[in-house]
């Protein structure tokens, strides 16, 4: 499961929902894998405002991944200008400016959409309940007495 998915999940136990410590769920004993995906800068830009940055930073630290900057990147930092010679131009005189994903965008994309929890568990910070992740699928089903 992708780390971005954790931005939308909380403990399934009803009484935990009102507690701020039920989000984010804390990954433990995680086996991570990188699943390459194509980058979509427009998506990243429009996703940034609804991304819980501090919680994402916390999860990233808990997983032992390289720390994220203290504040979320600015939308304008997702693209950078590159100079290139247009295809088919042999003179090299018609250099044009193109916009490409910046390193900031690539790093964000890698964390949110390419870093996946393959196996492990997600733990609620409020009640301590552990949700298993198996073959990339998180299991939020509760035993009958907890519903």
């Amino acid at each position: 499961m992708k780390l971005l998915t954790l931005n939308f999940l909380t403990c399934a136990i009803k009484t935990c929902k009102t507690s701020p410590s039920s989000f984010p769920l804390h990954p433990q004993d995680s086996e991570l894998e990188i699943v390459e995906a194509d980058i979509n800068v427009l998506f990243l830009r429009n996703m940034l405002p609804r991304l819980m940055w501090n919680e994402l930073r916390l999860i990233v630290n808990e997983l032992g991944l390289p720390s994220l900057p203290e504040t979320a990147p600015d939308a304008s930092s997702l693209l950078e200008t590159k100079l290139q010679v247009p295809e088919g131009d042999t003179t090299g005189l018609n250099i044009e400016k193109i916009e490409v994903p910046s390193q900031v965008a690539k790093d964000l994309h890698r964390v949110l959409l390419e870093t996946c929890i393959r196996e492990g568990k997600l733990v609620c910070g409020n009640c301590g309940h552990e949700y298993k992740v198996m073959e990339g699928v998180a299991n939020f089903l509760l035993p009958g007495h907890l519903v």
Binding site: M1, K2, L4, T5, F8, L9, T10, C11, A12, K14, K17, F23, A37, D38, I39, N40, L42, F43, R45, N46, M47, P49, R50, L113, Y131, E135, G136, V137, A138, N139, F140, L141, L142, P143, G144, V147
Partner: protein
Amino acid sequence: MLPTPSTSHVCFDRVYEPAEDSFLLLDTISSFSEAAFLHDRFRQTTPELEPCSTSPLVLEVGVGSGVVLAFVAANAKTIFGRDDVLALGTDINSFACQAASQTVQNAIHNPSESVFLDIVNGDLACAIRPYLVDVFIFNPPYVPAKLPDYSRHDNYNTILAGQKSTSFEQDSYLLELSYAGGIDGMEVTNRMLEQIPHILNPLRGVAYLLLCAQNKPEVVKQRIKDWGPGWMAETVGISGSKAGWEKLQIVRIWKATLS
């Protein structure tokens, strides 16, 4: 006609096979009138003038084969007028989660189409943070039939140790989950309806719910309108208006802005 996502990899012995109800959802959500409604609701403003609106989150509960979520994700540009849509699903059946995940991944060909998050194994939307869902889709177990005995779920939701595959009883149980809705076929839907006001984005959230005639759709719609000021419930798609006992409809649930 927009293409229907392929589900040829799905084992329909234990995962609900796309049928008339699934196709009614596809047809309704991509209809001219619904696309117009959704385009308007999720309009992107030009970044030069003001900040753009954030990426819409689509949540489908009970994805089954994943055909509906895959369709919405792959055709986001046509349906919503934007292709920065996030697709998230849940299902109580772990085999459906695996199958649907593949269906959605296969359907999104173009990187700029939509972003597929995950399919989570869970009960309804219990694990979803409140007020974040922009588009909610639910094709419930709507058949008036005794609810399955959930005490078997833990054992039946996985391939048991020492077994190579699921048993016949297991498969029957897993399929029952996808159609049996208890009294009036409404027991599961009623639990879902309780959650809807708490998961939908209060400003732009919209839900699509499938009902059959036995669910008493007029009563259900009135109940939704009674949630409070602004709540709306309207039939936006129907099928089986001939002699079929399974007359289906899609109800759109949303909160109108009160001025």
